[in-house]
Structures are given as C-alpha cells and as structure tokens.
C-alpha cells in the first residue's frame, strides 16, 4: 500500500478531503457519531415498515372476513376496498403509506369503524407509558443492587437467594407470574380477608391497580440485569487494578465505588437497550393478563381481528421506541467509557 511517492508527497488520488472531515475534538467526534447513528436508524425503520407491510398483504383472505362466517356482499366489499385504498396496486399503497407515516397519519382502523389509528394509539399510549416508566424505575435499582450485592458476597446465602430469584424471574413466563400474583393477591387475599381487600386484578388506576402489573412487567428485565451485573462485577473483581487499589491502602468503600463499580456498570448500560425491548413485548402480555387498555392490548386485538393499519402502526411504533432506546444507550456508553474510539 504505497501511499507516498518519492519525496514523501501523498500519491495521486489520495484526497486531502478526509483530513478536512476528521473531527478535531472529542465533542465534534461525538456529534458526528450521534448523527451517523440517527441516520442509520432511517433505513432500518424503512425496512421494518416494508417487511411488515409486505407481510400484511401476503395474508390470505381480506380484512373483511369476519370470524364466524358471515360474509359481506361483494358490492360492500368493493366499496370498502375503495374507501380504504385497497384497490390500488401494492407498491402505490406502500409509497402512500410511507408518505402518510411521515405526517403521523397511520390510516383508519379496520375494526373500529371511522376511527383513525393515530387516535387509538394516542388514547392507549398513556397506560403503556406509565407501566413502562414505573417498571423501569424498579428494574434499574433492583437489578443493579441485587447483582452488585450478589457479586460482592459471592457464594454466600444472599448470593444464592439473589440468583435464585433471578433464575425464577428469567424462567417463569410473565403471564404465569401474573396469574400467580392474581391467585395469591387477588383470590387468596380476598378469601383471607373475608372479601374486604384484595389487589385489583384488572383495569387501570393510579393506585394499587398498578402494583401487580408493574411488578410482573419488571420481573424478567430485573432478573436479566441482576445476572448481568453480577457477572460483570465478578469479572471486574478479578482484575489487576482492583488489586492495585487494595495495595494502595484504599478503603473498601473507595475500592468498591471508584474502582469496581465504575468499571462493572459500563456493560450494564448496554443492557438497558434490550431492557426496553423486554418492556415493549412484556407490555403486550401484562396488559392482556390485567386487562389494561394500553397499546399492547390494542395490538393483540388488532392481530386477532386482522386490523392491518393498527398492526402496522403498532409494530412501527414499538420498533421506533426500541431503536431510539438503543441509540440513547449507545451514545451514553460513549460518554462513560473513555476507551471507546469514535471513528
């Protein structure tokens, strides 16, 4: 790779443009990094929409086939098709859809006549968001806390308890856990208190309605984070620089906070991305179990009634949320780990 001709001058064709674009400071490099990642999200989302859209239209049958056998007359079907734009060629429908999406217009719902998908999403959104945020507030401290304690007291009773809990949380499906909660805190509590008190088993409210759904939703991600934190911390405990810290005569508190945790929590940040994916898929199940009118539940209804616009929009929405979460996590990671190179 002889880049230099005789005399040390760059060979012909070696553009100096690269050097102009090379960032001068870490701040500039960071901005470039974020911009690149955001730009990368666009084709990903494009393909998500494309794939989902294609799948929707591959489905046999039409959205007007009601389960139960009652067929609509041909003329009505034709009218409906025209009204929903289903008579146009597929690629046209797709482009039209893309155009609409950029204006946040997701079309009309098939199952709820006359209502736009956007409106449905907007009305369902707060429930899901509340559950998600609350669950996140439980996951981070509980997961990290459990993992750190388990690692620092490895092979002790608390380690086994913490890891046992996390194995349970990771292996028992969330709808089973939800059911268990309902049985214990709904049915049994009801019986024990002679019908006076039990945790509400369905519906939404900013009170004890939230307890069971949030805990159920948070269980799997907490277990996941706890395991990861424990593994990461154990790994760091073995590192030479921890020994150096002890050899300098630092107090236990300083060694744990500045040397162990400061390093072991870095990979955990990366794990927060998939945590959002867990929250998203978890909400589908939790809202079904506890009958909460959030987006997850709407999605299930859309799937069973083949409400394609709704399915499409929800998939896109959820994918966007996960993609943004991953982006934020990646950017955060760059901030906290000085070793990361931005080019």
């Amino acid at each position: 790779m002889a880049n230099t001709a005789i005399g040390g001058r760059p060979a012909r064709g070696a553009l100096p443009v690269r050097r102009l674009l090379a960032p001068s400071s870490r701040g500039a490099a960071l901005a470039l990094f974020v911009a690149r990642r955001v730009l990368w999200m666009v084709p990903v989302l494009f393909f998500v929409i494309l794939i989902t859209f294609t799948l929707m239209h591959l489905a046999p049958g039409s959205p007007w086939d009601k389960a139960g056998g009652r067929q609509l007359s041909a003329s009505i079907v034709e009218n409906l098709n025209t009204r929903y734009g289903l008579d146009k060629p597929i690629w046209q429908q797709f482009l039209l859809y893309l155009w609409n999406v950029t204006h946040f217009d997701f079309g009309l719902s098939y199952q709820y006549q006359g209502r736009t998908v956007s409106a449905l999403l907007v009305s369902a959104w707060p429930y899901t968001a509340t559950l998600g945020v609350l669950a996140f507030c439980v996951i981070v401290p509980a997961g990290i806390g459990l993992g750190v304690v388990a690692a620092l007291r490895q092979n002790s009773r608390i380690d086994y308890i913490a890891m046992g809990f996390s194995t349970f949380g990771a292996s028992v499906p969330n709808f089973v856990v939800g059911m268990l909660f309902i049985i214990v805190f709904g049915v049994m509590l009801y019986n024990i208190t002679g019908g006076n008190y039990s945790l509400p088993v369905s519906g939404f409210g900013l009170d004890d309605h939230l307890i069971m759904p949030v805990v159920t939703l948070a269980l799997l991600p907490t277990a996941f984070i706890a395991r990861l934190t424990r593994a990461s911390t154990l790994d760091i405990l073995r590192q030479d620089y921890v020994r150096t810290a002890w050899a300098k005569g630092l107090s236990e508190r300083l060694v744990v906070l500045k040397h162990i945790l400061k390093n072991s929590l870095i990979p955990i940040v990366t794990a927060l991305g998939p945590t959002f994916a867990f929250l998203v898929t978890g909400s589908v199940i939790v809202e079904t179990v506890f009958v909460i009118p959030g987006i997850g539940r709407s999605f299930v209804e859309a799937v069973t009634s083949r409400d394609y616009p709704m399915i499409l929009a929800t998939t896109v929405l959820f994918s966007v949320v996960v993609a943004i979460a991953n982006l934020v996590v990646d950017v955060l990671y760059v901030f906290i780990d000085p070793r990361v190179r931005l080019t």
Partner: protein, 304 residues
C-alpha cells in the same frame, strides 16, 4: 563423592508430574456432572422427552385418559382417583392434557433450534467467511431483523398465516436466529484471523475447509449453549401465543391454552392455572439449568 554422569536418565516424574490430561468432552461431562442443578434439569428433560414420545401410546393402552374427551358432568373437579390432577371446566382430564402439552412445547422448543442453525448458521458462516461487503450487507440485514421485538414479530407473522403448529413453528424460527448468526460469524472471524496467517506460508489448500474444520470444535460449545438457552425462549413464545389465543387452537392441549382456559375459572379452580404454569416453569428452568451447566463446564477460565 561419586557423581552421576550428566546424561543420566531423568527420574521418573510420574508421581509429581503434570496433572493428568483428559479429552475435552470427558472433562466437560465431568464438570457438568458436578453441577447438581444441571443434572436435575437434565433428568427432568429426559422425563419430559419420554413423556412426549410415549404419551400417545399410554392413552392407547389405557394408562392415561384421553386429553380431548370431555366429561361434562365432571366439570372443574379437584384431584380424584380417576383424574389425578382433576379436570378442567369442560371435564377434560388435566393430567393427560399436561402430558400432551409437553409434546407440543418440546417439539416446538427443540426443533425450532434446527431452523436457527439453518438460517442463522448459514448467514453467520457466509458473512464471517466472505467478509467485506457481503459481511457488511448481511450484518445490516441482521440488525434490521433484530430491530423487531421478537414477540411482536411472531405475532405479526402468525396473524398473517392462520395459527397452526406449523405456522407457529416457522414463525418462531424465522424471528430469533439472529443471536446464532452473530455467534457463528464471530467464531469464523476469529478463526480466519488465525488460519490465514499460517496458511499464508503453506500452499493455500482450501481455506474454506480449514476454517470449517476449525470452526466445528471451537464453536460447537458456545453454539450448543446458545441453542440450549434458545429452547426455553421458544417454549415461552409458543405458550405466550397460545395464551393470547393466536397460537395452538383448542381443543389441542398446549400449556398456554390451558392457562387461558384456566383463567376463565380462576376464582373457582385456581389449580387449573397453576398446573400448566408450573409445568412451563419447570420445563424452562430445566433447560436453563442445563444451559448454565454446559456453559460453566465449557468455560476454560473456571478450571481451578
């Protein structure tokens, strides 16, 4: 003092010599055996497999009840002599339904791994080996695929094609192969790095064969661990789908379906929810323990 000739034969060092060498897989098996949880998991899995295989036979020879036959008069009863775990609200025997449910869960859980290997393994192999643009393209494709939250993707797929054992099977397989693809690609890349340095000296015999030949022993361990952990994930997906109602359709007994049915009568007979729930949990736990055990047994760093 008489001195020995310097070329005297070395004293036999057998007693205080190098620790005995054992083959890799013998060592792995030994270490796995020491992990009690993993062994317990393995035992349970064996029982489940036997159950799955023999369930049909057992019904025919009358040892267990027919899982689909309804005894309406016995709706939602507790355990009895004839029905060891009671009946559900349609009078069907719970125990036999559980046993048949195992069939479905195990079949899907285990066989789906084959699809992962097929799709994910191939893509990972090609990407890692080809490198350059092909690798880039394939990895972008994988990233896009990974951007779909898995349950949603499966739901979308299943909604498109009417729910059946096959459609669920294919759907789960198509959605989750990404992890395996990345793993295989990583292994291929690391081997490529090693091999080509040496191969540069030797006359290049088929590089592909070299990579493949080294890939299998090195990567086999992590691949098996990944697939083992993939089984409970797949079982979960099937159960979740069936629970929601877009998976296995009644009257076929799947554990997810049983939980949904049981939910309807949860105040009257909570056990109908508990039994399948526990069954799923135990199955998933068992495979997780085996996965943990395998991973620890294969980890070179844990040698003490």
């Amino acid at each position: 003092m008489a001195l020995p000739i310097p070329s005297a034969p070395l004293v036999q060092q057998q007693d205080w010599d190098v620790p005995e060498q054992v083959g890799l897989w013998t060592d792995v098996w030994r270490r796995f055996r020491r992990n009690r949880l993993a062994v317990a998991g393995a035992v349970i899995v064996v029982i489940l497999v036997l159950d799955a295989v023999l369930a049909g036979l057992l019904v025919q020879i009358g040892l267990i009840q027919d899982p689909i036959k309804q005894h309406v008069e016995l709706s939602a009863t507790g355990p009895s002599a004839a029905h060891l775990l009671g009946t559900d609200e349609l009078g069907r025997d719970t125990l036999s339904r559980l046993m048949f449910g195992a069939r479905i869960s195990l079949t899907i859980g285990i066989l789906v791994q084959g699809i992962y290997v097929l799709i994910g393994g191939t893509i990972g192999l090609v990407a890692g080996y080809a490198g350059g643009r092909v690798d880039n393209l394939l990895m972008r494709f994988t990233d896009i695929w990974f951007a779909f939250p898995d349950l949603l993707f499966v739901l979308v797929l299943v909604s498109v094609f009417s729910p059946s054992l096959l459609s669920i099977f294919v759907a789960i397989g198509i959605v989750n192969w990404v992890g395996l693809a990345r793993l295989v690609r990583g292994q291929v890349l690391s081997i490529k790095e090693k091999e080509f340095v040496e191969s540069a000296r030797a006359v290049g015999s088929s590089h592909f064969k070299i990579v493949l030949r080294h890939l299998v022993p090195n990567a086999l361990g992590p691949i098996i661990v990944t697939l083992t952990f993939g089984i409970p994930a797949a079982i979960f997906l099937e159960a979740a789908l069936s629970y929601i109602g877009v998976g296995i359709q009644p009257p076929t007994p799947s554990w997810g379906v049983m939980i949904q049915d049981g939910y309807q009568a949860i105040y009257a007979a909570p056990s109908q929810v508990l039994f399948p729930g526990i069954a799923i949990a135990i199955t998933m736990l068992s495979f997780s323990f085996i996965g943990d055990g395998l991973r620890d047994a294969l980890d070179p760093r844990m040698r003490r």
